[in-house]
Amino acid sequence: MSKRSDMTNTHNWSGQKLVSTDYLLFEAPREKHFMTGSEVLKEAMKRCTVDASVSYPITPQSEAAHLIGELWAEGYVGTYFRGENEFGVMSEVAGCAMAGARTVTTTSGPGTLRAMENFAQWSGTRIPCQLILMARGINSPLTIQPDNLEVSYMLETGCMIWYAENVQELFDMSIAAFTVAEKPDVHVPIITVVDGFFVSHTREAVMLPADDIALEPYDPYKAPLPPIDSETPPGRFLRDPFVMKSNYISYATHASWQWEVRSAVERSRPYAEHYLKGLIHITGEDDAEIAFVTCGTASNQAKEAHRELMKLGIKTKVIKLRTIRPFPAKELLEAVQGIKHIFVPEFNVVGWLEKEVRKELYNKCEADIVGGPRVAGGMSMPAEAIIAEVMEKINPGKGA
């Protein structure tokens, strides 16, 4: 096991050279590797000078959780253990982060819902931990297949939510995530979402920097709340003060606290803009009149559809949202200028992304918004289905 005291000004406890996030993400030379999302997450965390991680098995995130355990055994992660269930794990993560650790954990589907109460506690106590959410269907009936309905439950927890499309994005995003979440004026938890199996278990080419460099360590003394370590004033300090009504004006305290957490998420925008190179990414034709607004794997599928539609002479573009909280409202509005039809393909039955898009564009955009196509419970979304949806809209009754 490594010791934190082995860290020097230039190297972390496992001997990796400390570099800036900019260097790690944008400047360091990269080489091609071929690996799964779970494996790439190990590579990302290996370069993040992670203090603590807590794990629990659930498909499809278990592999990633094992691999972070291996990092601990190899001396890259400070402390690691298996918790008793997801509610326990997220509580343990809270403890780790409150005590001043850069902390990461992973979960999926039913585990996310079991742990739910913790996420609001995380944001309310301003811990900058990272949850890698490998989305999977939630019961009932039981499924272990990809489906991102669970994300809709996370939208109002006060945590930041980013969505990675593929293995490469998972690598880059999960590194940027710590950096943005730990900014003093942000300092709220970050949930990095990928679609389970479609990313976690998909093997593809990915460009990685060398593994002898890593992020600067987390400095808990630059946090908006003191860490719980008895080393910083005020000595009399309760991390989550139980503000009851018997303390007058506590409603203003609670309300301000809630607004402050949401304000913190808003303050992440310029940082995310920089480290993600934009809150949205656009693929396709500038003069298209049809747009797909997507996140995650739906972006991949929409890009396939876009290419096929081009062959039919139909111009489209794919507007991929990379952050869901904060929601890239301004960027989306700019991107849909001149668009007549917006399609929101989704991997869930409720269409939470469609609702988000409609809310933000209401009264601001003339385009017709179609919530579809939708698949759920592990189905893939073939480009053909997306094309059919488009053709039905622009050429009713004639089919693709």
Partner: protein, 189 residues
Amino acid sequence: MANQGPAYYSPYPAATYEGVITPPEGKALLLEDVVDEETAMREIAKQMLTKENATIFPGPQVLYAWSDEAKRKATLIKEMAEVLNANMIPMYDYRPKYPKIDAEIEINPNHPNLTIWENKIKAAIFIGVHCHYANVALKIVRAETDCYTIAMCALSGHEDAMATIRDQHASDLEKFIKIAKEVKSELGV
């Protein structure tokens, strides 16, 4: 009762809801405008020197002698209070206090308006308060009082204050004191 802000009992909307966020590095905020640090410092000094019962609220990070930086800042803040003719009222911790605070001599982030009402404070500097509690307090003060709030932040600044300067370390405080002295002699107060 003190002059109350538009919301009276609810600290809404927060500044971010109006699109204002913390200033970029090297810059400051005056209301919603991003300005140079020196411009903000001059305005802060002017506000403190001209408003009634101007007060500095030092927070835990500077009240206690836990680091060399804290010790150095303590001396400078004392000097700052003298230059600005300001009172000092400590925010010594963040816990909700039972049964009540003595609003004349202390300020609590859970109901900072009480101290501002009690002492009829029209301009105040928050310094050494952890960002989260500063923001909670600033939101309440903004909603419930007519106090001109100033946040001198060692980190990224506070958009809910009317004026905020960021990355303020001991040497920056020295610079502020120098500017405040100039403003003071210009104003002749």
